[in-house]
C-alpha cells in the first residue's frame, strides 16, 4: 500500500501556545509532519496560533495560518483552502480536540475533509474513560478499578466502596489538569468539584490507587497493513502517583525480564488494535505491582505525545515523521530507516546506552503554590541525557538542568529527609542522595519512596563514588580512579568542588592522565549496522565515533530545558541559525539537551550533539570538532553565561563580542555608555549590601525595581514601594555578592513600554525589524505583556527617537547580529530600560509579522556578510496589518497563586493574532491565549482612583456594545455620575453577595480590576483574581489592557471571521515595497 494519490492537500492542526503539559514537542512533531508530507508531494495547510514555532515558518507549509485554534477560525481556513484530509495526531491534545470538534460540528463533512491519522471512533475510544475501560476489558486487559462520575455524591459513594486513596482524572483535560489524589473524604470533595468543572464534558474518573507501583510506557506504531512495532520502552524512576511528565524517566525499561516486557508489548499491541489506531504512533502506559507482578493498563494516547518526542530522541527513530507517512498510506516496511539507510523502518530500535529524562520545575515563580508533585503536571520543561550507563546519564541529566544543584551547591536539611522522600517533590532525587550521605540504607529509602531498589542502588553507587573521590586529591588521583569517576557521570565541576580546586584544573589534570571524552553514535541498532547520521553523545569509552569533517563549520549552542523566560523562541532562533548556515554552505553543529525541540531533531543540523550545555561538555565538543566559529547569541541566557569562559579558553565566538554582551549587563559600564551617548535611562544604582540597597532606593525614589544581575525572564524581580520590601527582598529573596550586585531601578509609573528588535552588521548598518508597543504599562515583565506591531499610540517623534537610540546603541556595542532593546516612554520622553545584544523572545513573532527571517540575516552578518546582501529594506521594517502577541499563563496549574502581573515573568507561551485593525488582532490573540473575550453579558469593574476616568469611558463604550455593568461602590459611583446604568456589589470583605459570589454564580463574563496602589495586593483582589482563574472568566488587571479589551470586544461585534495565511501577508508586504 504505497502513498495515497486520492488526497492532495492536507490540513495539519498544531498545538497552540506552550503551556504546561503541551510544549515544543509538538513543534517538533508538527514540523516533522509538514516536512515529511511535503517531501512526498502533498500540499500542506497548517493552522497554529503559536508564532514562536518552527512549524509556523512560512517555508514549512504551503499555507500557514497563525490563527486561533477554534472551530470557527479553523472552519474558515477549511472553507478557504478546501483540504482533502486533516491530520489530527501531531498537534497534541489541542490538535486532537479541535479535530474532534470540527468533525462533530459537521465542518469536515460539509467540506468533504477526511480525518487521517486517527479516526473519530478511535479517538473517542481512547479518550473517553468509559469506552476505554470497556474496550480494555473486552481484550482481557486489567485496569485499576474505576468509575466515571458526574456528581460529587456519586464520587463519594464509589470512593467509599473501594477505599482511599483514590485517583481523580477529569475527562478531556490537558496534562491531567484538575486531577489529583484524594486521601480522604475532604480531599475528594475538593478535587472532584474542581475536576468536574474543568472537564469540558463534566466528567471525572475515580480510580483505585496504584500509588507506589512501577510505571512504564511503550511507544507503539502501526500501519494500515497491521504491521506494528514498539519504538521504545520507558520506565519511570518515580513510581505511580507522579504524572509521567513530572517523573524522571529512563529508557529502555531497566527492571523487566523478557517475559514481563513481552507481556506488556502484547498488551500494548492488543490495545492499539482494539482502539483502532489504524496508522501512526500511540503511547500506552502501564503500572505493575512490584510485589506480585500484576499489570494494569493506565491509559493510551492515540497520537504523537511528549513521550513519543522523547522516544524519538532516545532511539533515533522519528515517530512523528513516520506517523505522517503512515497516515497517507505507506507501510512501515516501505519506509527506510534514515540512520542506517539500508534497513527498513519496520523494526524495533535497540539501544546500547541509557537515556534519562529529568523534568524542570519552577515553583519559585509561583509563591503560594505548594511544591509537591502528583497526577497533575507542573514542570515547565525537561532535559534528556544519554550515557553509556544509567549513572552516567543521570549525572549528565542533573547538570543539564542548570539549576546549579548538580555540583553540590544546594544545601539539604536533615529534618526534611523523610517528608521530602515520602511526598514527591522537585527535590526528591536530591534528598535521595542526601539520605544516602546521611547513612540511610537502600531499604529505608525504598520504604519511604517506593523507588525501585535497582535505581536506588545506582544512586547509592554515585554517592559512594563521591565519597571515594574525597579520599583522594587532584594530585593523588590515579588514571583508573579518574576514568571510573568520569564513566560514572561525575562532572569536572563536581570533582573540583570535592577536591577544592578549579574545574579547569580538574580538566587539565584529567587530560594529562589521558582521560578524555569520546563520542558515540545514536544509531537505532546498537552498532549492528553502519550509521550515516552524526547524532552523538559523549562518553568515556575507548573509541570515538565522531569522525568530524574538514569542512568550514560553525557550532550553535542551544538553550537547554524550557523555562519560563527561555523557551521555544530561542530554539526557533537556533534552528534558523542552523538552516541559515547550511544555506551558506557551512556545516552546522547543534549542541542541546532538550528532547522536546526541533533543534535536537537529527534532521535539523548537519551534526547533533545531545549534551549538557556546560563548559566541560561544550569544550569537549569544541576540541573534537574544532569549528571555525561558535554562536552563543541565539540560545538565550544559557549559552551567554558560557560565552566569556569559552572565549577565555580560546574558542572563537562569532557575532557580537562576548565582552560587549557583558558590557550591556554591567551597570556601571553601561551607565557610562548611555551618558556618553546622551540617552536617558531611569535613575538607577546597584548595591551589594542590604543597607546599600536601601540607600540607593531612597536616593532614586520609590517605587523601585529590584533584581539580581544576570537573569532572564525576570527571575526574582520585585517592584518595591517601600523600604520594608527592599529590606525583605535583600534578606530573603536573593543571593548577591561583589561580583553580582543587586540592581535597583526607578520604576516609571504609567509609562508605555516598547520592545525593539534590530539587526546590525560589521559595517555599522542597523535595520530595525520591529518597534513593538506593549499593551500593559511598564512594570509588567515584557514577556508577560501583550504587544502590538505596529505601535499604535506612539508619535512620529517618539518613533524617530527610538530609531536613533537603537542605531546609536547598536554601533556603540559593535553589535553583529541581533539585538533587543526595551524602552519606556513617559510624557514624550524615551528611556532605555535594558539592552540585550542577542536574540530575543520576540524574534520569531517579528520575523513572521514582517516576513523577514531575522535569524538568517543575523547568521549571515556573523559570517561577514552585510545586511544589504539580504534585503534592500532600510530603517524600520513595515507591516501591512496588526499583529498582536499575547502571553499564556499557567495559573490554572497552581491553585492559590495570585495571577496578577508584575516584573517576574510567569507566562509559559505566546500566541499571535492578526487583524485589519488592532481590536481584531487583540480579540484573536485573547481567544488563542485561552481567555476569549465575551460578546455580551455583565462586566464587573473595580479600579483605583487613578484609572476612574478611563474606566468610566470604557463603561460607557461597553454599555453601547450591549453589556451590563456591575461595580464596587467607589467605581460604581463614578460610573453612575456619568449617567451610565450600573449595579453596585460588595467587595469580598464588605458582605455578601460579593463579587466572588457573582463570579461563582456565573453571572459575570468579564472582570476589569486594577489594583489599588500596587504596593500590596489586598485579600479582596487576590480572591477575585483567583476566582476568575478558577471559573475561567477573563480578568484584566491593567487599565491599558482594559482599553485594548474593549476595542477587541467592539471588533467581535463588527468584523467578520476572517483569516490570512502568512504567505499572503508576506506577498502583500513584498508587493508594497
Amino acid at each position: 500500500m504505497p502513498r495515497r494519490n486520492d488526497i492532495h492537500r492536507i490540513l495539519i492542526v498544531g498545538s497552540g501556545p506552550i503551556v504546561i503539559g503541551q510544549a515544543c514537542e509538538f513543534d517538533y512533531s508538527g514540523a516533522q509532519a509538514c516536512k515529511s508530507l511535503r517531501s512526498d508531494g502533498y500540499e500542506v495547510v497548517l493552522i497554529n496560533s503559536n508564532p514562536a514555532t518552527i512549524m509556523t515558518d512560512p517555508n514549512l507549509a504551503d499555507k500557514t495560518y497563525v490563527e486561533p485554534l477554534s472551530v470557527e477560525f479553523a472552519a474558515e481556513v477549511i472553507r478557504r483552502e478546501r483540504p482533502d484530509a486533516l491530520l489530527s495526531t501531531v498537534g497534541g491534545q489541542t490538535g486532537l480536540n479541535l479535530s474532534v470538534a470540527l468533525a462533530e460540528a459537521g465542518v469536515l463533512e460539509q467540506y468533504g475533509v477526511e480525518l487521517i491519522g486517527a479516526k473519530l471512533d478511535a479517538i473517542k475510544k481512547a479518550e473517553d474513560r468509559l469506552l476505554f475501560k470497556d474496550a480494555m476489558k473486552k481484550i482481557g486487559l486489567d485496569l485499576p478499578q474505576s468509575q466515571l462520575v458526574n456528581s460529587v455524591e456519586k464520587g463519594l459513594e464509589f470512593a467509599e466502596r473501594i477505599g482511599y486513596p483514590v485517583i481523580l482524572r477529569p475527562s478531556f483535560t490537558l496534562g491531567g489538569t484538575g486531577g489529583g489524589i484524594a486521601y480522604n473524604r475532604e480531599d475528594l470533595v475538593e478535587i472532584l468539584e474542581k475536576g468536574l468543572d474543568l472537564s469540558p464534558v463534566h466528567e471525572v474518573l475515580i480510580e483505585e490507587s496504584v500509588l507506589g507501583w512501577k510505571e512504564f510506557e511503550l511507544e507503539v506504531m502501526r500501519d494500515q497493513a497491521d504491521n506494528a512495532i514498539i519504538v521504545c520502552s520507558i520506565e519511570n524512576f518515580d513510581p505511580m502517583g507522579v504524572h509521567t511528565g513530572d517523573s524522571i524517566t529512563v529508557a529502555p525499561a531497566q527492571t523487566l525480564t523478557d517475559r514481563e516486557y513481552q507481556m506488556m508489548r502484547d498488551a500494548a499491541l492488543r490495545c492499539l488494535r482494539e482502539i483502532g489506531v489504524d496508522t501512526g504512533g500511540s503511547n500506552v502506559q502501564f503500572a505493575i505491582d512490584p510485589a506480585t507482578g500484576r499489570m494494569v493498563i493506565v491509559e493510551m494516547n492515540p497520537r504523537v505525545s511528549r513521550s513519543s518526542a522523547l522516544a524519538s530522541k532516545a532511539t533515533g527513530f522519528p515517530i512523528a515523521k513516520i506517523a505522517a507517512k503512515l497516515a497517507v498510506g505507506y507501510r512501515l516496511d516501505e519506509i527506510k530507516n534514515d540512520i542506517t539507510r539500508k534497513t527498513p523502518a519496520c523494526f524495533e530500535p535497540t539501544i546500547d546506552y541509557v537515556v534519562v529524562k529529568i523534568p524542570r520545575w519552577q515553583f519559585e515563580k509561583f509563591p503560594g503554590a505548594e511544591p509537591v508533585l502528583g497526577t497533575q503536571m507542573k514542570s515547565v520543561g525537561e532535559v534528556m541525557a544519554i550515557g553509556r550507563t544509567f549513572k552516567q546519564a543521570l549525572g549528565k541529566g542533573m547538570r543539564s538542568l542548570e539549576t546549579g544543584k548538580s555540583d553540590g551547591a544546594v544545601t539539604f536539611q536533615d529534618d526534611l529527609i523523610e517528608p521530602r522522600l515520602i511526598t514527591p517533590n522537585p527535590d526528591r532525587l536530591g534528598y535521595v542522595r542526601f539520605a544516602f550521605e546521611r547513612g540511610y540504607s537502600e531499604e529505608q529509602v525504598h520504604a519511604l519512596t517506593s523507588i525501585d531498589p535497582w535505581f536506588l542502588r545506582q544512586v547509592r553507587e554515585m554517592v559512594d563514588l563521591e565519597r571515594d573521590m574525597e579520599k583522594v586529591s587532584l594530585g593523588s588521583v590515579t588514571r583508573e580512579q579518574f576514568l571510573k569517576a568520569k564513566r560514572d557521570g561525575l562532572s569536572d565541576t563536581r570533582l573540583a568542588r570535592i577536591w577544592k580546586v578549579g574545574p579547569l584544573d580538574v580538566r587539565a589534570r584529567r587530560k594529562e592522565l589521558g582521560v578524555g571524552a569520546v563520542f558515540n553514535r545514536v544509531d537505532t541498532c546498537a552498532a549492528e549496522f553502519e550509521s550515516f547520521t552524526p547524532y552523538l553523545y559523549s562518553s568515556y569509552e575507548s573509541n570515538c565515533e565522531a569522525s568530524p569533517s574538514d569542512r568550514k563549520k560553525v557550532m550553535i549552542l542551544g538553550s537547554g530545558p524550557n523555562r519560563i523566560g527561555q523557551g521555544i523562541e530561542f530554539d526557533y532562533c537556533c534552528c534558523h541559525a542552523s538552516f541559515a548556515l547550511q544555506g551558506f554552505g557551512v556545516e552546522s553543529i547543534m549542541v542541546n539537551c532538550n528532547p522536546e525541540t526541533v533543534s535536537t531533531d537529527y534532521d535539523t543540523s548537519n551534526r547533533l550533539y545531545f549534551e549538557p550545555l556546560t563548559l566541560e561538555e561544550v569544550l569537549n565538543i569544541y576540541e573534537t570538532e574544532k569549528p571555525d566559529g561558535v554562536i552563543v547569541q541565539f540560545g538565550g541566557q544559557t549559552p551567554l553565561t558560557l560565552a566569556l569562559p569559552l572565549k577565555r579558553a580560546g574558542v572563537p565566538i562569532i557575532g557580537t563580542d562576548p565582552v560587549n554582551i557583558d558590557l550591556a549587563e554591567d551597570r556601571k559600564l553601561f551607565g557610562k555608555l548611555l551618558e556618553e551617548l546622551n540617552i536617558p535611562a531611569p535613575e538607577n544604582g546597584s548595591a551589594t549590601t542590604v543597607e546599600g540597597a536601601c540607600d540607593v532606593a531612597r536616593q532614586i525614589g520609590y517605587p523601585v525595581l529590584v533584581r539580581p544581575s544576570y537573569v532572564l525572564g525576570g527571575r526574582a524581580m520585585v517592584i518595591a514601594y517601600d523600604e520594608d520590601t527592599v529590606r525583605r527582598y535583600m534578606q530573603e529573596a536573593v543571593i548577591f555578592s561583589q561580583d553580582r550586585p543587586v540592581l535597583i531601578d526607578r520604576v516609571l509609573e504609567d509609562a508605555t513600554e516598547v520592545d525593539v528588535d534590530a539587526l546590525a552588521d560589521s559595517a555599522g548598518t542597523v535595520l530595525i525589524a520591529g518597534i513593538m508597543e506593549h499593551i500593559e504599562e511598564a512594570g509588567v515583565h515584557s514577556g508577560d505583556s501583550s504587544c502590538v506591531l505596529p505601535a499604535t499610540s506612539l508619535s512620529e517623534e517618539t518613533l524617530a527617537t527610538i530609531r536613533t537610540y537603537t542605531e546609536q546603541l547598536a554601533r556603540a556595542l559593535n553589535v553583529i547580529g541581533l539585538m533587543n532593546i526595551q524602552y519606556a516612554v513617559k510624557d514624550g520622553m524615551v528611556y532605555v530600560l535594558e539592552v540585550n545584544p542577542r536574540a530575543s523572545r520576540t524574534v520569531p513573532y517579528v520575523s513572521k509579522a514582517t516576513g523577514v527571517p531575522l535569524p538568517k540575516i543575523a547568521v549571515g552578518v556573523m559570517l561577514g556578510k552585510k545586511i544589504a546582501d539580504f534585503t534592500d529594506a532600510k530603517g524600520v521594517l513595515s507591516v501591512p496589518q496588526f499583529f498582536v502577541k499575547s502571553p499564556v499563563f499557567p495559573f490554572n496549574k497552581f491553585p492559590g497563586v495570585d495571577p496578577s502581573l508584575g516584573p517576574e515573568m510567569r507566562s509559559t507561551g505566546e500566541v499571535m493574532g492578526v487583524g485589519e485593525n488592532f481590536g481584531e488582532a487583540f480579540a484573536k490573540a485573547q481567544l488563542s491565549a485561552g481567555t476569549p473575550l465575551p460578546g455580551k453579558g455583565r462586566v464587573f469593574i473595580t479600579v483605583n482612583d487613578r484609572d476612574k476616568l478611563v474606566a468610566v469611558a470604557l463603561a460607557k463604550r461597553l454599555t453601547e456594545l450591549g453589556f451590563e455593568i456591575t461595580a464596587t461602590r467607589g467605581t460604581a459611583n463614578a460610573i453612575r455620575a456619568a449617567g451610565i446604568p450600573v449595579k453596585t456589589v460588595f467587595k469580598v470583605n464588605e458582605g455578601r453577595p460579593n463579587a466572588v459570589d457573582l463570579l461563582k454564580a456565573g453571572s459575570i463574563s468579564l472582570i476589569i480590576y486594577t489594583g489599588t496602589t500596587g504596593a500590596h495586593a489586598f485579600a479582596d483582589e487576590k480572591a477575585i483574581r483567583r476566582a476568575a482563574v478558577a471559573y475561567r472568566v477573563p480578568c484584566i488587571t491593567t487599565i491599558s489592557g482594559a482599553r485594548a479589551a474593549v476595542e477587541a470586544i467592539a471588533s467581535k461585534g463588527r468584523d467578520p471571521i476572517r483569516v490570512w495565511s502568512l504567505q499572503e501577508i508576506h506577498k502583500s508586504i513584498a508587493a508594497g515595497r
Partner: protein, 375 residues
C-alpha cells in the same frame, strides 16, 4: 576487584572486571542486541561454544529465576557486558545473575567498551576469543584464542543433545497474575522433537498448542522416529555449523513425505540441507530480538527473535519443490520456506521467542493445522 581479560584471535584485548566464575573459557565471540532476556540467552544451548557480548549496557538488573531458563543450565562460554548489576530487583527473581553464572561456572567480563567490541566484530566478522580471569597475559591469551577450534565444521548439536529420549508435558507458566496463558489443552497430537539443543519454550509452546512431546537425541534414526508414531516431527534449534550434520540431514530427508515436519533455526538449516540446499556462514550473524521478517504469504512483517551464525542459501534451493515463505528485510537473507508437495515448513528465526516478540507464535498453530490435515 579482580581483573578479567577478553582476548581476540586478531590480537585485540579488552580489560575489565571479573564477575561470575573465576575461570578461563574460549569460544567464538558474538554479540546479541536484544534489550531484555539475558537469562534466556545464557541458557539457550544454541550459544554453546560462544562468548556472548550483550549490547544492552545494564545486565543483571532483574536477577535470574527458575522459569526463565531455556535449558537446565547456562550454555554460553562466557559473557561480556558494559555493567553487571550485583543487585537483582524483580518480584520473580530467585537469585542474582552473578550467583546464577558463578554456580554454573560461567565467567563474566564487565566494564569493557562493548560498543567498540561490537563495532570491531561487525567490521571484521565474528572471531575466536578467550575470556579469562585466571591469566592476564595478553600474548598468551591471544595465542590460545588462535589455537581454539573454529566454529565452521564443528558439530556441536550432537554434543548438547539429550543422551536419551524423554517425554515433555509441561506447558507455559504465567510470569504475572495478568498474563493470560491458560491451561494447556488435552493433547491431541504426538510430536517427536529432535533435540539439537532445544529450547524449553519450544517444548512449552508445542504442549500449549495441544501436543504431547517426545524428545529424541540428535542421532535418532528416521525409522526409530516413525516407530514412535508421531503426528508430526519437530527439528530443533541448536549450536554450531549445520554442514557437518550430514547424518541428521539424511534422517530428515527420509522423514519428508512421511509425516508433517516443522523446523526452527538449526532445524531449518538441516531441512535445507536435506532438501538439497547449501548453508553458509554469516559475517557476524543475527542475534537479537528486533529483526523484521516479511511473511510472503500474508504480506505482513513480523518482529522476530534471532540467533544464528549460518544461513541457508536461497539460490541453492530447488524452487520447483520449495517455496520461500519468509525473508529478512534487513539483509534479504532467507528466513523460512515450505515444501510445495509435502507438509514440511521451517523458519530460520525463533517463533518461540524467549527472548523476543511473540509475533510469530502463529507458526505453532500452522504446525497443528498440518498435523490435523495429516491425521
Amino acid at each position: 576487584m579482580n581483573l578479567a581479560v577478553l582476548a581476540l584471535e586478531d590480537g585485540t584485548i579488552f580489560e575489565g572486571q571479573s564477575f561470575g566464575a573465576p575461570v578461563e573459557r574460549t569460544g567464538e565471540v558474538v554479540f546479541n542486541t536484544a534489550i531484555t532476556g539475558y537469562q534466556e540467552v545464557f541458557t539457550d544451548p544454541s550459544y554453546s561454544g560462544q562468548i556472548v557480548v550483550l549490547t544492552n549496557p545494564q545486565i543483571g538488573n532483574y536477577g535470574a529465576n527458575e522459569n526463565d531458563s531455556e535449558s537446565a543450565r547456562p550454555y554460553i562460554e562466557g559473557l561480556a557486558v558494559r555493567e553487571f548489576s550485583p543487585l537483582a530487583s524483580n518480584w520473580r527473581s530467585d537469585e542474582t545473575a552473578q550467583q546464577f553464572l558463578t554456580e554454573n561456572g560461567v565467567p563474566v567480563i564487565s566494564g569493557i567498551d562493548t560498543r567498540a567490541l561490537v563495532l570491531h566484530l561487525r567490521s571484521r566478522g565474528v572471531m575466536r576469543g578467550v575470556l579469562s580471569s585466571v591469566s592476564t597475559d595478553a600474548k598468551e591469551l591471544i595465542e590460545r584464542a588462535r589455537k581454539s577450534p573454529s566454529m565452521a565444521g564443528l558439530d556441536l548439536a550432537t554434543r548438547v543433545s539429550t543422551p536419551q529420549l524423554y517425554a515433555w508435558k509441561e506447558g507455559a507458566v504465567a510470569g504475572s497474575p495478568s498474563e493470560d496463558i491458560g491451561e494447556p489443552p488435552e493433547p491431541r497430537f504426538h510430536v517427536v522433537a529432535y533435540d539439537f539443543g532445544i529450547k524449553r519454550n519450544i517444548l512449552r509452546m508445542l504442549v500449549q498448542s495441544g501436543s504431547r512431546v517426545t524428545v529424541v537425541p540428535a542421532g535418532t534414526k528416521a525409522e526409530d522416529v516413525l516407530a514412535l508414531k508421531p503426528s508430526g516431527v519437530f527439528l530443533s534449534n541448536g549450536p554450531g555449523d549445520p554442514e557437518p550434520l550430514t547424518y541428521q540431514a539424511e534422517q530428515v530427508r527420509r522423514l519428508v513425505g512421511k509425516t508433517p515436519i516443522f523446523g526452527i533455526c538449526l532445524g531449518h538449516q538441516i531441512l535445507g540441507l536435506a532438501l538439497g540446499g547449501k548453508t553458509y556462514k554469516l559475517k557476524f550473524g543475527h542475534r537479537g530480538a528486533n529483526h523484521p521478517v516479511l511473511n510472503k504469504i500474508t504480506n505482513r512483517v513480523e518482529i522476530t527473535s534471532h540467533n544464528h551464525g549460518f544461513a541457508v542459501d536461497p539460490d541453492s534451493l530447488n524452487l520447483n519443490e520449495i517455496e520461500i515463505t519468509h525473508m529478512n528485510l534487513n539483509d534479504q537473507t532467507l528466513e523460512g520456506f515450505r515444501h510445495r508437495n509435502h507438509p514440511v515448513f521451517c523458519v530460520q528465526y525463533h517463533p518461540e521467542a524467549a527472548p523476543g516478540p511473540h509475533d510469530s507464535h502463529y507458526l505453532f498453530g500452522d504446525f497443528v493445522k498440518l498435523m490435523e490435515e495429516a491425521k
